[in-house]
Amino acid sequence: MLNANKPFSLHLDPKLFEPATEEEKAYISRMRPSSTFFRDGCKRLLKNKVATVSMILILLITLAVIILPMVWPYSYESMLGVRPGKPVDSSYNNLAPFTWGKTELKRMEEGEKLFPHIFGTDGHGRDYFIRVVYGARISLAVGFFASIIVLLIGMVIGSVAGYCGGKVDIIIMRIVDIIYSLPDMLVIILLAVVLGKTLNVEGTILEKIGSNVISMFIVFGLLYWVSMARLIRGQILSLREQEYVLSSQATGAKGGWIIRKHLLPNCISVIIISTALQIPNAIFTESFLSFMGLGVNAPMPSLGSLASEALNGITSYTYRLVIPAVVICLIVLSLNLFGDGLRDAFDPKLNA
């Protein structure tokens, strides 16, 4: 209405052009900067003390396992008592924490400063501290990369099944059902036994990782994608009915584009949460396999194989079992708690 007092007049009401009063200004001013979904979630996450502590712990452990092997004076595979051209010095085997071998003691008498063996050495005279650090590195790396593999495969297959629907969906979901009902651990053991023997990685870049770890990745890739695929399919099924997908289709967008640009970003929180919860799962499986001797190849340590080696000297060297056990529990526990915190902070179902 142009003029409230004179409804039929075309004259503009001059009051409309007066500067806004303070009261009106306050009405439209922003109380605080608008928040995004991501920032909201981070705020909620940081408020959760347990999750924050776990996150810091994970970051510390990750940094430690990356940096420590670079600066540590001992390596995980060198047997300190073995020197070229000399008989094996067995005084280095099974050193107690903070003690030294014979030649090291001599060098120290001569005034040299040596770094202590914080956790002593193992039965082959290898510095145990760096072996634990290295083992944690292997376990974390396996957990992380296995989850990435699972994520990639599950994301691709799940989104295709969800978006295409129809026959494609039915076929994929039948396959998922069957893999889902396979007893995973038994199949993993079976494949680990066989792949460990059949895979020939000598001479390739993969040699350093070892055939057993690669077979573990293959197994994870083959078996564990199904729950991720199910999850993403479910999300996509509900998202694809949204108007923005229809509008995108109407303007001629291809399926792949819609999935990448519209659908996947909208289920990102679900994806991140379940990937975070997948990592401890993979670490569990890795340590289980290593404990049974099907995991990492010999000189390379993992937390599981360290624990299983320590079983032989359980009465005299109990600490050698306790240390990797504590590390593994700490990693898995903090990852679990962090994943739970992530879910509480980012799950859109709880915000509704």
């Binding site: 038994l186 199949v187 079976l190 289980f288 404990f291 049974m292 359980i314 529990c329 679990n336």
Partner: protein
Amino acid sequence: MSSKMLFYVLKRVLLALLTIWIVITVTFFVMHAVPGGPFVGEKAISKEAQAALEAKYGLDKPLMTQYVTYLRDIVTRFDFGPSLKQRGRQVVAIIADGMKTSARLGVIAALIATVTGIVLGAVAAIRRNTVLDKVIMVITTAFVSMPSFIMGTLLLIIFSVHLGLLPANGAAQGGLILPVITLSLYPMSYITRLTRSSMLDVLGQDYIRTARAKGVSRAKIIFGHAMKNSLIPVITYVGPMLAYIVTGSMVVEQIFAVPGIGRQFISSIINRDYTMIMGTTIILASLIVIMNLVSDILYKIVDPRIEFE
């Protein structure tokens, strides 16, 4: 039973059979893909002796013939062939032998886990946000994050190495106590958490409020109204629990030297006893698949609200 229900059961049974067939097929071909065959790597063995051995175990025939024979023997006679390393013994006999110990171990562990899990979960839910609830949740969270081999070895250190209360050898008198505890802690924690959350869910329902408003006693509400419905999700965990116990018992039997099927499985892997590996994998896998099937069907029967796909 409605026809919809019948259709669902039929579908699930077919899927289970298909899964078992896939397990058999995958196991067979995967084991036969190992280079060298089972008799390579033994003490210097002559060509003739190896040929004779292979003929004896039917390994000289084409792969497909072997597969068909293997499958037919399993289906018709439940025969998994002779063990390659324990001369003169059938795989089924060896497995049945180990199963006696393992089944006892597993069943006791499962019962303890279920009962204590439900009780602890219900207590935690009823007394929610109290110190008791927090303590239960912290302990179960810790147990869920602990791999079974760590749990087993820690219990071994504490109770038999340091305190000397219980034997470390599973074959000794009372030797199954520690393995049973080790095996039951993880499923117990899981069931506790499951029961707690579903109980909390149920306690917030309208019919509980109505019962309370009518003046029904607290005990009657919990045991008569809430308990039944909050136990439904626990039924779905029966299958996964069995799977956990089967794989967990491998580790536990290894640690405590229990003469069970898990230990046999590990030693057959180390000895490369191929028929044993195949037989054990197939039987244990089928057991898990069948248990999953039973718990899924039970779940739908118990809770009529759940729709059939």
